[in-house]
């Protein structure tokens, strides 16, 4: 099915099941520990051996020699694979660094060997006996020292540099100006389930039971890396213990399990050890950003400029921190610029809302600062500079844009009018209290997605697609979609995901999964409805599918009758015309945060949080809300604690475990409020839905930062906002 013109009324609009806050259909499995994650699939293949990964102890250089003899002789060891004996390997298109390093080392903890043994304990002990001689080379690890050497680079979804009008002149002429520099640190996905894979060869065919967000990408990538035909690789990933972008691309666990299994001639399972993950896998790259805003005295933006610097390994990508600045606020004269420096740290890559997450951290502080300079309420300043069209191409409207409504609704619900605009004036016992807000913005992406739907003679509808559920609720919204389309209760729908043998879906990333994968299921259901209607002698245009029956006029036939002779199935995909070119599709929101800052110690506690989002039709308000509050939580982490600390001499992230890399815990997060505005977006798909999971993180950290400023009067522009950055300037309070 090709989606080329705005959606009209369709069976989804009945909203019998779609749009209802039903509990996750996979919930009882998750709550009882019976949902099978990659490493624990004892049942899929017999005789599994254990792999343990060895990471490089240097950041850059080469391996002069490896002594494997003691490790090989250790009890239980079956095989040791290194770049030396792995055979020819290619690098996949999606990875920047090689998954198995050696002799050249590209980054610290790059995998250099996997030890396969009968047991985990034996593999771990033997791995300690490998002796490696390294030749260390000088590397570049300090982004701030490389700004002059950084080069222009495109960003995902657009050019790195843009210019409209005459920014320089307009900024120079603006009566009120802001020119500020911000920084965001390297951040880790730190999903709870480590990257893990069980690999088994059957002749030249490889099966990987793994933990991966994008099944089709990784099937192709693994084939490329191993130099085998794509048809010979199967991936199965029904449950994924979190990803956040960290499981978009193949990682060392999958490759080393495959190589280990080939060498040991039996199935091998590998999980990346937690302390290895932070330097071995990808991370959100640090940015340094400069934002300039010029405005008239009555608060109209006339010039807005956003520049961003980030670093990556040679051949890597720049963080797209400037991307939202092209679309979020009005202003005739505008520019963005993206510069990429070469760094020898681990590979920087996508993490939840790549680009907007870091960009909004800076931009939404800048907007708060500008509002203060102008003496305008920061909510009103944002509303004053709203635009209903793409500011670079005014002929191109937004499909839906309810930013103003989000801000106004949030302000009312949060009690914004009680905020004292003078910072450092509100006291609650030992706490200085402040309120802050930020806009939320993230684009909605359209990408094709396929599914197969089968009706069997017992009336059960089974959906199969290689879509993944990384905690997003895919199982549930896909079941809701099929139930709505086929007119059956939710209990009568089975959903099977994550197997590369199923039709290729959008996968999970870029908040595109929900809308696109359900639209693919919609397309397959439309086809199945036509087949069923025809078989039962209905005109498919008139047939209604309700309550387990097909009806038209006075005639009603039980749905399962269409499958009486053994089942009926249809496969189709949603693909998109140029509708996304004609209309800018984005999602919007507003974040509100109240913090308390200890007047003596500057300890920061988040006291209240609210998000208001407008993101198309909300397919399941319960799971969608969870996406947003989870993103708000990660946003608090970004604001107050998350930072991969770079050792600039040795070249690695020092705090590479879950004790050193601090993420929010229960005690850090208060009760969170979340409200969706009513919206359907007929430009997005027949589902009229958009993404929401990444919108939820965009702007949160800035709302926290603005609240801290409101509480204390101390403006911190370098994340995370820790008490040491506040202490010296804290207001003098007796």
């Amino acid at each position: 099915m090709k989606f080329e013109s705005p959606a009209t009324t369709n069976p989804i609009d009945q909203l019998r099941i779609v749009g209802k806050p039903v509990s996750r259909i996979d919930g009882p499995l998750k709550a009882t520990g019976t949902a099978p994650y990659a490493y624990e699939r004892h049942d899929v293949v017999a005789n599994q051996a254990y792999g343990y990964v060895v990471g490089s102890a240097i950041a850059k250089g080469r391996i002069a020699g490896m002594d494997l003899s003691h490790a090989k002789a250790a009890p239980g060891v079956l095989a040791i694979v290194t770049a030396d004996n792995a055979g020819k390997l290619d690098k996949g298109r999606l990875n920047t660094a090689k998954l198995l390093g050696g002799p050249e080392i590209q980054h610290y903890h790059q995998a250099i060997a996997v030890v396969v043994a009968e047991t985990f304990e034996q593999a771990r002990a033997a791995a300690q006996l490998i002796r490696v001689d390294y030749v260390r080379e000088q590397g570049a690890f300090d982004l701030a020292s490389l700004l002059d050497k950084a080069k222009p680079n495109p960003i995902t979804g657009g050019p790195g540099d843009t210019a409209v009008g005459d920014f320089a002149a307009a900024f120079a002429a603006a009566p009120v100006r802001l020119d500020a520099r911000y920084s965001t640190p390297d951040e880790a996905h730190a999903m709870m389930e480590p990257h893990a894979t069980i690999a088994a060869w059957e002749g030249d065919k490889l099966t990987l039971w793994t933990s991966n967000q994008m099944i089709a990408w990784n099937k192709a990538e693994m084939a490329t890396t191993l130099g085998i035909p794509k048809e010979n690789v199967r991936l199965d990933s029904p449950f994924i213990g979190g990803g956040f972008g960290g499981k978009l691309f193949p990682r060392a666990d999958a490759l080393l399990a495959a190589l280990g299994a080939r060498a040991a001639k039996r199935p091998v399972k590998v999980a990346l050890q937690r302390p290895l993950m932070f330097n071995n896998t990808t991370h959100r790259p640090a940015t340094i950003q400069r934002i300039r805003i010029g405005a008239t005295r009555d608060g109209k933006i006339t010039a807005i400029g956003h520049e961003s610097w980030s670093g990556d390994l040679p051949g890597g990508k720049a963080d797209g921190a400037v991307s939202q600045t092209r679309l979020l606020y009005a202003g005739t004269h505008r520019m963005t610029a993206t510069r990429l420096a070469t760094l020898d740290l681990a590979e920087g890559n996508a993490m939840r809302a790549p680009g907007e997450a870091t960009g909004m951290m800076a931009l939404e502080i800048a907007v708060d600062e500008m509002a203060e300079k102008l003496g305008i309420d920061p909510i009103e300043f944002r509303i004053l500079n709203d635009t209903q069209v793409d500011p670079e191409k005014p002929e191109r409207p937004f499909s839906q844009r309810q930013l103003v409504e989000c801000l106004r609704t949030g302000a009312e619900r949060f009690g914004w009018n009680k905020r004292n605009p003078q910072p450092g004036r509100v006291r609650d016992g030992r706490w200085l209290v402040g309120i802050g807000a930020a806009a939320a913005f993230r684009n909605n992406l359209l990408t094709k997605s396929a599914a197969r739907v089968r009706l069997d003679k017992s009336g059960v509808v089974t959906v199969e697609t290689d879509m993944t559920d990384i905690g997003t609720g895919s199982y549930t919204i896909i079941a809701q979609t099929a139930a709505e389309m086929m007119g059956v209760p939710l209990e009568n729908v089975k959903v099977r995901l994550g197997d590369s043998a199923f039709p290729v879906s959008a996968g999970s990333g870029g908040q595109w999964g929900g809308n696109n994968s359900t639209a693919g299921v919609y397309a397959a259901c439309v086809k199945l409805r036509e087949m069923i209607a025809q078989k039962l002698g209905f005109n498919s245009a008139e047939a209604e599918f309700v309550d387990g029956a097909v009806r038209a006029g006075n005639r009603s036939v039980p749905l399962m009758q269409a499958a009486a002779d053994g089942g009926i199935s249809a496969e189709d995909e949603i693909e998109y015309g140029d509708i996304a070119k004609k209309y800018q599709q984005s999602t919007f929101g507003a974040h509100f945060v109240e913090v308390g800052v200890d007047a003596a110690t500057a300890e920061i506690r988040v006291r209240r949080m609210l998000a208001v989002c407008a993101a198309g039709r909300i397919l399941n308000p319960k799971t969608a809300r969870s996406q947003v509050i989870g993103a708000m939580t990660m946003g608090v982490g970004a604001a107050l604690m998350e930072e991969l600390v770079v050792d600039k001499r040795a070249g690695f992230f020092v705090n590479h475990d879950l004790a050193g890399y601090e993420v929010p815990v229960h005690a850090d997060i208060p009760h969170q409020e979340m409200f969706f505005l009513d919206e359907t977006d007929p430009m997005s798909s027949p589902m009229k839905a958009k993404g929401v999971a990444e919108l939820g993180i965009c702007g949160v950290a800035a709302a926290v930062a603005n609240a801290v400023y409101n509480a204390t009067g101390v403006r911190v522009r370098d994340y995370p906002i820790t008490l040491d950055k506040l202490l010296e300037q804290m207001p003098d309070v007796g």
Binding site: D26, P28, G33, E193, I669
Partner: protein, 217 residues
């Protein structure tokens, strides 16, 4: 109910236990990838094996294990009770939380052979998909998870937390160590803070626990 002096005693016991396991770990010759050290003997050492018996979810189990096997790996890899999760293998995330002798522990931080005769309860011992424990049902109702990987640990912790409060065991945020522990919002959040949920379901988890505890979140 346990008083402060009992608590002191158990802390001393814990320290002794820690020292013992350090000595144990330091005994065999160790080399690693960064510091080349010639192993003392070239011939393969025999793997030290030991038999251990404990009761898991009401069922007596006996396993012969490499003595280095953690309780977590004994459960996951040997008994195929994979509900307890390995998130970090270092006691930093709480995904492996099980209940041993009525108290929650990080099963990755304890060797299986240290649990001879113990009563161990894992997520599988609380309920099944068809017959959920009230805490499991509350997590489903309140969407107290997303990816589900930390969930078994969160639920085991939550069940044990309510028992700890009932037993009067104080926490870091208890204002008065001599007064009965209170089931406050701050107490729940503090006590649950050893269980990380990167998906960020904390607000929903707090609602689920509060419902089971019979108080507002």
């Amino acid at each position: 109910m346990q008083g402060p002096s009992d608590f002191d005693l158990s802390r001393r016991k814990l320290l002794l236990g820690t020292a013992a396991s350090v000595a144990f770990g330091a005994a065999p010759p160790v080399a690693n990838a960064q510091t080349p050290v010639a192993p003392a003997q070239a011939a393969p050492q025999a793997v030290p094996m030991s038999k251990v018996s404990f009761n898991v979810n009401g069922r007596p189990r006996e396993v012969t294990l490499d003595t280095r096997t953690t309780l977590l790996d004994a459960l996951r890899e040997h008994l195929h009770l994979t509900g307890s999760k390995k998130g970090c293998d270092h006691g930093q995330c709480g995904a492996c939380t099980v209940i041993s002798g009525g108290r929650r522990i990080n099963s990755c931080l304890t060797l299986a052979v240290m649990h001879e005769g113990d009563e161990i309860r894992t997520i599988e011992g609380l309920g099944t998909p068809e017959n959920l424990h009230p805490m499991q049902a509350a997590f489903v109702k309140h969407d107290g998870y997303q990816c589900g990987y930390c969930t078994p640990g969160q639920i085991c912790s939550a069940v044990a937390v309510l028992d700890e409060i009932k037993a009067g065991i104080p926490s870091h945020v208890s204002a008065d160590l001599n007064a009965p522990a209170q089931l406050t919002n701050a107490e729940l959040r503090e006590r649950m803070s050893g269980n990380i949920c990167r998906c960020g379901a904390y607000s929903n988890i707090a609602e689920a626990i509060s419902e089971v505890a019979g108080r507002p979140a």
